[in-house]
Amino acid sequence: MNQHQPAGPARVRTKHIGAHPVASSLLDPANALPSDGNALPDRVGVGLKPEHFQAIVATKPTVGFFEIHAENYLVPGGAFHYFLTQIRTQYPLSIHGVGLSIGGEGPLDRLHLQALRRLLDRYEPQSFSEHLAWSSHNDIFLNDLLPMPYDQPTLDRVCRHVDEVQEVLGRPMLLENPATYIEFAESTLNETAFIGEIVRRTGCGLLLDVNNVYVSCSNHGRDPVRYLSELPLSAVGEIHLAGFHRETDSLGAPLLIDSHDSRVDDAVWSLFDHTVAAIGPKPVLIEWDNDVPPLATLLAEAQRAEGIMRGYRPDQVVGRQS
């Protein structure tokens, strides 16, 4: 009898990240809840990767929270639940969906939404989030976060979908601003106004992906600081930081690709610094989904973000805002 054991857990596909639901009172910074277990702490978390399961359980590193991609855990049993169950007892958890297709033309997948509800009921995460994007159409799943025109019919549809998500999941969600490479001639609203309207009409929070802000602004010739100032920043419930990849467009201008496969770029650190000065400490996630590095590398990135948040002084905000 021969027997053979694989070297480790199976690989998983883990695309873009993010995650975190928020009590609606959190959306007003003046009324923020204490860290009583119902909200993510204003600390830095990292994405939970199967490559790191054993090291995390064995060494219990200092991490603000872990974030998972919901779809990877919609499986019956085995290693993913075995490790997540242990890790959940030690750390706050953010669940980030990558497959709901909230920007899709058709109705939301109710079975998928109900599966998400069961996952949330099982792990009771402090946060749930999803993307302003579409990824499914006519039952085909394209596994990318695709853009949409910013017009009134699309706005109405996205708001209906966000309402439906929050109703079925029984909690507020965070919506993540996208990284995009192209724009639509038929758009009648700019992206920040579009996002602002969704937040205002649905009461959802904002998952502010600072890397996406930088990538999109570079790709569309915008000023990222001004873009940030136009967003509903009082609704930010979580911040994402990630690495991007540089290419150029047909005219030689920068074309940045949201790749989640490297360290956070200096330009994004700088924009994060500005963001913290403007809105104060928040739950922050280091996203690194492809070419996943050793856990120590992720933790070092998290420490850098913690350092920036520890340097925050409220009087600076007053100074900037006055």
């Binding site: 009898m1 694989p6 049993g77 085995g78 039952d139 085909i140 394209l142 596994n143 467009d249």
Partner: protein
């Protein structure tokens, strides 16, 4: 056609022109920017196949695998956001993929990798404990009429090819070189899970027939009698695997 109709058609078919109505801030070519999405879709879905079929990829090489994967993705795009289930049609697709026709064992190797993933993520179940086994084995009359329920993670795959040996030769702890394996030697794979780790056993035909009979609901006595005439059947070996690997989760009548 609506925008998503046009996008979907174009994302999956590089010969289609990019969709209308796209703009860029600086007048650069929209086609090149649209190609980022097309590349993301194709690369990520081929990556998903490579996650599920790493041994097939190693066996045929990266370039061949990705070219074959692209044809598969275009013909069978995913129908679910749960990519862990993506590729169920891949083994049958390989059977009909002419450039892979010489590798007759490749479809079954792909089936073994699907079984691995199924076992890895299967539901957890509490095995029958040591004392229950002792009681059962001590009472032969009861054992004869007993029927077993097995772990949801247990997957059995019979092949005309040496799929277990080929698979094992591609693992990090391989103890046999790939070129020492005769791919045309039939093998049976028992894909099982020890706690959360997946293990693949190469088991004889008669043992596998015995297990299959038990899985179909036959009693222990009936299933064993059917195999006893086979010289390579070893009832104690089967029982020791059942007990050591905690494969049995229920006995009837209990």
């Amino acid at each position: 056609m609506t925008m998503p109709d046009l996008w979907m058609q174009t994302l999956l078919d590089p010969d289609q022109p990019y969709p209308p109505g796209l703009t860029t801030w600086n007048g650069s070519d929209p086609a090149q920017r649209f190609a980022v999405y097309r590349n993301n879709v194709m690369v990520s879905l081929i990556d998903a196949l490579a996650d599920t079929f790493p041994v097939v990829e190693q066996q045929v090489g990266r370039d061949f695998f990705r070219a074959m994967g692209q044809v598969f993705v275009q013909a069978h795009p995913p129908r679910s956001p749960l990519l862990v289930d993506y590729g169920q049609a891949f083994p049958t697709f390989i059977e009909g993929f002419p450039p892979a026709a010489e590798l007759t064992y490749l479809p079954d190797l792909a089936r073994l990798e699907l079984a691995y993933v199924a076992a890895f993520h299967a539901a957890d179940a509490e095995p029958v404990g040591a004392s229950a086994w002792q009681t059962l084995l001590a009472r032969h009359d009861d054992l004869t009429t007993t029927r077993f329920r097995f772990q949801p993670s247990l997957q059995v795959l019979r092949s005309e090819y040496a799929i277990v040996s080929l698979w094992a030769a591609h693992q990090a702890d391989a103890d046999r070189a790939l070129d020492s394996i005769d791919p045309d030697a039939p093998e049976n794979a028992w894909v099982i899970r020890r706690d959360w780790r997946v293990v693949i056993l190469n088991m004889p035909d008669s043992d596998t027939d015995f297990l299959a009979a038990l899985q179909s609901g036959q009693s222990f006595g009936t299933a064993a009698d059917a195999q006893n005439k086979h010289p390579d059947f070893d009832l104690s070996r089967c029982l020791s695997v059942f007990v050591a690997e905690k494969l049995v989760v229920g006995v009837l009548p209990d």
